[in-house]
């Protein structure tokens, strides 16, 4: 397996006056084509980690490498070309004057020819189902639509790693489901590596592996099934919640995590 992203002993502190670190000794690796979900409470340092991964912040300690390239001041532009980051706040990352302008912004920075940009923009807008809105200005868009545009802007650059920082929170359930499917497809067809910082259980459930963060540290990691079982504090997907509730009522239910479909199958038995 190719290690696409390696993070070693990352330590960072926003406020030097405090004793506690924002991140301390965060280490993990992500393989090519893997979907990693990062979960944790507000303030646990997830967004800070995302900013470190693209070189917007410089760690106090530790090292980040993407495709074997170690992040330094000199390599950060090259690494940014590999990693597409979608931020939490969709409004402030909307740079263009219309939807299609915004999607093209990153392409313009590559000095890409108009014809090539046009193809990429069309593709990306289609992927997030925003083609109809291509001439709209940001003031006429909902938060969810702006988030879709932000995702399109990242996808248009064809990154090898897509880093999503709670990028789905404003989406309605239907577009969320659509987008998750689109990403799952890209993961298969393009071998896209996805790192999604999320609170959403469905987004966690589709991942291959989950990291749990707490106060700047990785406190647990494992498959979604393992994490949902272990982390009782996290709201599990509906099926798992049902399983726990049934167990609490004294029914004999399987000891393992089940997907919605498995649960349905079991219930109908």
């Amino acid at each position: 397996m190719v290690q696409q992203l390696e993070v070693e002993n990352l330590t960072f502190q926003h406020d030097q006056r405090l004793n506690s670190k924002t991140l301390s000794n965060v280490s993990f690796t992500v393989q090519k084509g893997e979907w990693l979900a990062i979960i944790g409470h507000n303030g646990s340092g997830k967004s800070t980690l995302a900013q470190l991964l693209v070189g917007l912040l410089v760690p106090e300690n530790g090292q980040i490498s993407a495709d074997g390239l170690i992040m330094t001041e000199d390599t950060k532009w090259e690494i940014r070309r590999k990693i597409g980051l979608v931020f939490q706040n969709p409004e402030n990352q909307f740079i263009g004057s219309t939807v299609q302008d915004d999607v093209a912004f990153g392409l313009e920075n590559l000095n890409m020819s108009y014809n090539e940009m046009k193809i990429r923009v069309d593709e990306a807008l289609e992927m997030v189902n925003m083609t109809r809105f291509r001439f709209h200005e940001p003031t006429n868009l909902s938060g969810g639509q702006m988030q879709r545009v932000a995702i399109a802007g990242a996808l248009a650059l064809k990154p090898s790693i897509l880093l999503l920082d709670e990028a789905f929170v404003m989406l309605d359930p239907l577009s969320r489901k659509d987008l998750l499917e689109t990403l799952e497809n890209l993961k298969i067809t393009e071998d896209l590596t996805i790192i999604s910082i999320t609170h959403d259980v469905n987004e966690t459930a589709v991942s291959d592996r989950v990291l749990v963060m707490e106060s700047g540290e990785v406190v647990n990691s494992g498959s979604p099934e393992e994490i949902f079982l272990a982390e009782q504090a996290i709201d599990p997907p509906f099926a798992e919640q049902l399983r726990r509730d049934l167990m609490a009522k004294g029914r004999s239910v399987p000891e393992t995590y089940m997907t919605e479909r498995e649960m349905l199958g079991w219930l109908c038995k």
């Binding site: 900013q51 597409g84 931020f87 004057s97 313009e108 920075n109 108009y114």
Partner: protein, 265 residues
């Protein structure tokens, strides 16, 4: 805020709306020079006919244009009066020492008035029929030769376009903060001037703070998508110079030519 017409865009699909922003900008600037060629009543009559015709083409009502003149009306009247009162020549109607009302004074006052109003009307036509973002692109494109003099034209154009994009957000935010302060008992637009100024401080401080945060977020978002100032960028918004643009500039040349011919030297 809503009274400001100059600088506003009125969506539409008139012939003027479809012109390239560059031809409209060039025509707008050229018009200012052309207007100074006019020095007779016939010449001004021609300019009025031309300008009113162009205004008509824009598909925007005449009253909108008048509203555009209104904020500047005192300045215009002042300049007109200066001409009327101090200019001498021709028949003199009133003579009170330095203050004279003469034939030339009245005529020149009228010319000054016409010049101001015509320039405002014409520039308003340009801004009403061109999206601000297209104007920005047009300006950026026209100023491109200045890059040779190390003027960061592209950066300035991008800055301008981003500012335009965030104006509505800023307005919303101002409104929100004002509402929040009103809910705390602040009354805007009352009391002495000093008191009114004081009520503005609790608006500007939060606005300033949030704008700084926003600017940082934006800078991050731009950087992550590979924006580096000083590097060559392509543009997705394309300007296209069409035959109709050349034709419009030709009309401006003809206008200038006619005025030169009727000029009384």
């Amino acid at each position: 805020m809503n009274k400001l017409i100059l600088g506003r865009y009125f969506p539409g699909d008139s012939w003027l709306h479809r012109l390239d922003p560059r031809s409209k900008l060039i025509a707008g600037v050229a018009f200012i020079f052309i207007i100074f060629l006019a020095d007779s009543l016939q010449a001004f009559a021609l300019l009025w006919v031309f300008t009113l015709f162009v205004m008509r083409l824009s598909g925007v009502g005449f009253r909108t244009y008048v509203r555009g003149v209104r904020p500047l009306i005192w300045l215009i009247l002042f300049a007109t009066l200066m001409q009327m009162l101090f200019r001498t020549g021709g028949a003199t109607f009133v003579d009170w020492g330095p203050i004279t009302i003469s034939e030339y004074g009245i005529i020149n006052g009228f010319y000054v008035f016409c010049r101001f109003v015509l320039i405002i009307f014409f520039s308003t036509v340009v801004t009403l029929t061109t999206k601000p973002i297209d104007l920005t692109d047009g300006i950026g494109s026209l100023l491109r030769p200045l890059r040779k003099l190390k003027v960061p034209v592209d950066e300035l154009a991008l800055m301008l376009s981003i500012s335009l994009r965030f104006i509505p957000n800023l307005m919303d935010e101002t409104q929100r903060i004002m509402d929040a302060q009103r809910a705390r008992g602040t009354q805007f637009g009352e009391g002495s001037l000093i008191q009114q100024m004081k009520t503005l401080v609790p608006i500007f401080l939060p606005l300033f703070a949030s704008s700084l945060n926003r600017a940082e977020d934006m800078a991050n978002a731009m950087e992550v998508r590979g924006y580096q100032s000083g590097t060559k960028r392509s543009t997705f918004r394309q300007l296209s110079w069409k035959r109709i643009d050349t034709a419009s500039l030709f009309i401006m040349v003809v206008l200038a030519g006619v005025l030169l011919v009727v000029r009384t030297i």
